[in-house]
């Protein structure tokens, strides 16, 4: 029974499920560290998922699809950047507007381009990078099966995400860009008075978060599902926001928090096999990742301190 649930695939699946969350969460981290709330991660991810799929359908190339997803994510986040930085509008309202816009836009283009709502035709997906032969039998082979499944069974963006988390972590703490980013979210006027542009710094951060959330969308469609379905992000952008907070506004923290949520998601799927054994409504298992989000946000993990100037538009002079 337990052996059916605790399998190598459970952990491999957790890693896969964590990937889109982590990408969006790291995007959220970068954005909020610069002082801009990005509640639009959900919509940006959906946009990336759609345009990525559309590009693969058009060209047949998954990699061109990934590029389209990243570019469209950055593109739609430019709307958020312009509204919240240049126009100094409320960042939560601007983000909500983008979420609604993305939902409407992808649904509309779906009808326009493919003539029907719902789900697109299947697309060519990115395959796992490694494909090792399994050696004979015995305990060593069993250990190898676990290792291979957890470490070597993944698609490119899953590995790329781990790399991004580490690089972003180092960059935020050890580079000029990172120091300025941290200062931007805490005291933008201090950054301005030493002669560094607040607007430019925030624009770059918002575009980066858009690109990362777009990449998250690509992972969903071009690596995991193999097609686009309306509203397929299904709240992942908001869970990513929670992961960013749980990870205390650090990239590696965001990644680890996403891993926890990803594990809850993977476990939820595995637990479905219990349905025949005990009479628990399957919806209860489906709730698991979301329940975890609520508990985490309700502060079981202790108070996390957000960047001081997050959400405040900056006005020169």
């Amino acid at each position: 029974m337990l052996g059916d649930i605790i399998t190598p695939d459970l952990f491999a699946s957790a890693l896969r499920m964590a990937t889109p969350l982590a990408l969006a969460a790291i995007g959220g981290t970068i954005c909020e560290r610069a002082g801009v709330v990005n509640i639009a991660l959900e919509g940006i991810m959906l946009t990336g998922a759609f345009f990525g799929t559309a590009m693969v359908l058009l060209t047949g190339s998954p990699w061109l699809g990934v590029i389209a997803a990243v570019a469209s994510g950055a593109g739609i986040s430019a709307v958020h950047a312009f509204a919240s930085i240049n126009l100094r509008s409320n960042q939560v309202i601007s983000g909500t507007a983008i979420n609604l816009l993305a939902l409407g836009l992808t649904g509309f283009l779906m009808e326009l381009w493919y003539g029907h709502p719902g789900t697109t035709d299947p697309i060519k997906v990115l395959r796992p990078i490694f494909n090792f032969e399994s050696p004979g039998g015995g305990a060593i082979a069993e250990a190898w099966r676990w290792f291979d499944s957890i470490v070597f069974s993944h698609t490119p963006i899953v590995y790329l995400t781990i790399l991004i988390a580490i690089v972003a972590q180092v960059a935020i703490h050890r580079t000029k860009w990172g120091l300025r980013l941290r200062a931007l979210g805490e005291h933008p006027r201090a950054v301005d008075t030493v002669g560094v542009s607040v607007y430019r710094g925030r624009w770059v951060a918002v575009l980066m978060s858009g690109a990362l959330a777009g990449l998250a969308g690509a992972n969903l469609t071009i690596e995991q599902v193999g097609s686009f379905t309306e509203n397929m992000t299904n709240g992942r952008g908001f869970i990513a926001l929670a992961a960013n907070i749980f990870g205390r506004w650090t990239p590696v923290g965001s990644y680890l928090a996403s891993l926890l949520f990803g594990f809850a998601d993977a476990l939820q799927i595995k637990l479905q096999i219990l349905r025949g054994v005990v009479s628990i409504p399957p919806q209860l298992f489906l709730m698991l990742p979301y329940l975890l989000t609520v508990i985490v946000l309700a502060g079981v993990i202790g108070r996390a301190v957000a960047p001081a100037a997050v959400g405040e538009p900056y006005e020169k002079g």
């Binding site: 050890r174 580079t175 860009w177 120091l179 941290r182 805490e186 201090a190 008075t193 560094v196």
Partner: protein
């Protein structure tokens, strides 16, 4: 050739000419004090120099060459540094990170933290500005944070250092340290512009004094050629009475406030007020003098109903208000000018009329049942604004948009205008310039003349000596000495305030009720 020269710099804001053809020069190795009342345009002109504001006319010359300074970056590149009144420090970051921000050493985008730290240490050693390069700003006291600001300007290569009201947030000890830092900077060849409205600081530190009033330079002098009375006249534009002489003797009618054996705990749970007994009668001003943190704040808070005492009684006209809340105290005839006008005196997001009616907003004539009566409130506001000389375009302006002096007048107008039995004034002139100080002092004296009881709590000895009929010296939660206004002078007060009189007082003297001591 002067390091910095301003020629006819003009800057207008909607409705105000903040700088009207301001010209001044700063020589190498010189400390120039830019003196003026709040709102005289001192900060505006220096913000123009630092590139934060662009002038409407005139020019700025650096080393004799015209400089078009459009941003702080250009100002920094020219060698101009500025320490703002509100610090430009990122609190969660370290001292080193704050100092190098914007000009970080290192290649290929990475920061060379070892080099950064070494440079901070070198600067700190060279200018005698001791600070821990690895400390986080949030953990440092204000005086230390200011050092970081100065180091930041020096790191950026400042030859001209502008200090905007640098002493406003410092303790007297920190002010002395700052002055010695400024002198050592000048010894190293820097030139300093020191913006302030405090006369004694100007006399203590400046080589040359430039006085501004209403956006213009109205005079230039030096500490040798003038005194504080002359400076005050230049600054305000009329004769200012720095120390008001009381013309009448205290009348001392009925006892208004009587405090008996009061004990109050501080936020940290310590006994901040440790058994205090005194009275204030109608028509007299009793001042509580003391070094900050000796229980004055807790004493005031317990009297006005903001902090529950541990033991003792507080009687207002015979009514027990020991455990009363603020609303009951107000209804019993108490008014309170709080020591922090932003936190407790005003709601900055409310307009003047709303701020003026606070506390009386539920009683006639300003309210009728559950409804406010805007007509009555507006009429009252118009009268108070005129009576208390609050400079504002209208009563609909938000309190946050007034200058500090006018904000304080607003608080004074509400609290004295309410016609209380007892006025508790805690540091009523903190942060004000001489003109506004004189005004507030006159209002407090007027309250005394009309027979009110006044309890004044102040850290400024001058204020205590000028206003009080009796002085209670507080030290470590106790009243260690009571002095009549005739026997009090700065030395005597200073002696008792620092605990000098502790052992000499007999237990009997401490216990004795102090009511009517000099009447």
């Amino acid at each position: 050739m002067p390091v910095l020269e301003l020629r006819e710099v003009t800057k207008a804001f909607p409705g105000v000419l903040a700088n009207d053809r301001v010209s001044l020069v700063l020589e190498k190795g010189e400390i120039v004090a830019l003196l003026g009342e709040n709102g005289a345009g001192k900060s505006t002109v220096m913000n123009v120099v630092y590139g934060l504001l662009s002038p409407d006319g005139g020019e700025v010359l650096m080393d004799g060459r015209p400089a078009r300074i459009k941003s702080p970056r250009q100002a920094i590149d020219l060698g101009i540094g500025m320490v703002h009144q509100h610090f430009m420090l990122v609190e969660p970051l370290t001292v080193t990170e704050n100092i190098v921000l914007g000009r970080e050493p290192g290649r290929f985008g990475a920061i060379d933290f070892a080099t950064a730290r070494r440079r901070v240490e070198e600067l700190s050693l060279r200018y005698g500005l001791k600070v821990d390069p690895d400390a986080r700003i949030i953990d440092l006291p204000v005086g230390m944070q200011q050092r970081v600001e100065i180091l930041k300007a020096l790191y950026q290569g400042a030859r001209v250092l502008i200090l905007d009201e640098p002493t406003a947030v410092l303790t007297p000890q920190e002010v002395r340290e700052l002055f010695s830092v400024i002198r050592s900077l000048v010894d190293e060849g820097l030139s300093v512009v020191f913006i302030t409205h405090k006369l004694e600081e100007v006399m203590a530190v400046a080589d040359r004094i430039i006085v501004m009033r209403a956006g213009r330079v109205v005079g230039e002098t030096s500490p040798e050629k003038t005194d504080d009375v002359g400076l005050a006249r230049l600054m305000v534009g009329r004769d200012v009475v720095l120390r008001i002489e009381k013309t009448t003797k205290p009348t001392c009618g009925d006892t208004v406030l009587h405090v008996e054996d009061l004990r109050v705990r501080s936020d940290r749970g310590l006994e901040a007020v440790a058994g205090v007994t005194f009275s204030v009668c109608g028509g007299e001003i009793v001042a509580v003098a003391g070094v900050s943190g000796n229980g004055q704040t807790e004493l005031v808070e317990s009297i006005v109903g903001l902090r529950r005492p541990l033991a003792g009684t507080i009687l207002l006209k015979g009514v027990d208000i020991t455990r009363a809340d603020a609303r009951t105290s107000i209804e019993a005839g108490l008014s309170h000018i709080p020591e922090d006008r932003h936190r407790r005196g005003l709601i900055l997001q409310f307009d003047l009329a709303e701020n003026l009616v606070l506390g009386d907003h539920r009683v006639p004539p300003y309210a009728k049942g559950p409804l406010m009566r805007p007509g009555q409130v507006g009429a009252m506001a118009a009268t108070r604004i005129a009576d208390y000389d609050i400079r504002t375009p209208s009563a609909g302006v938000l309190a946050g948009n007034l200058s500090g002096g006018n904000q304080q007048k607003l608080v004074v107008a509400r609290e004295i205008g309410r016609d209380p039995e007892l006025l508790v004034a805690a540091q009523p002139t903190r942060g004000l310039d001489v003109g506004a100080i004189e005004f507030v002092h006159r209002q407090i004296l007027a309250a005394r003349e009309s027979g009110k009881a006044v309890l004044l709590v102040s850290l400024e000895l001058e204020e205590v000596l000028s206003l009080a009929d009796r002085v209670l010296v507080m030290y470590e939660g106790r009243i260690v000495k009571e002095l009549a206004s005739g026997e009090a002078d700065a030395e005597t007060l200073g002696y008792y305030m620092t605990g000098g009189g502790g052992e000499k007082l007999s237990a009997q003297e401490l216990q004795a009720p102090t009511h009517g001591g000099n009447a």
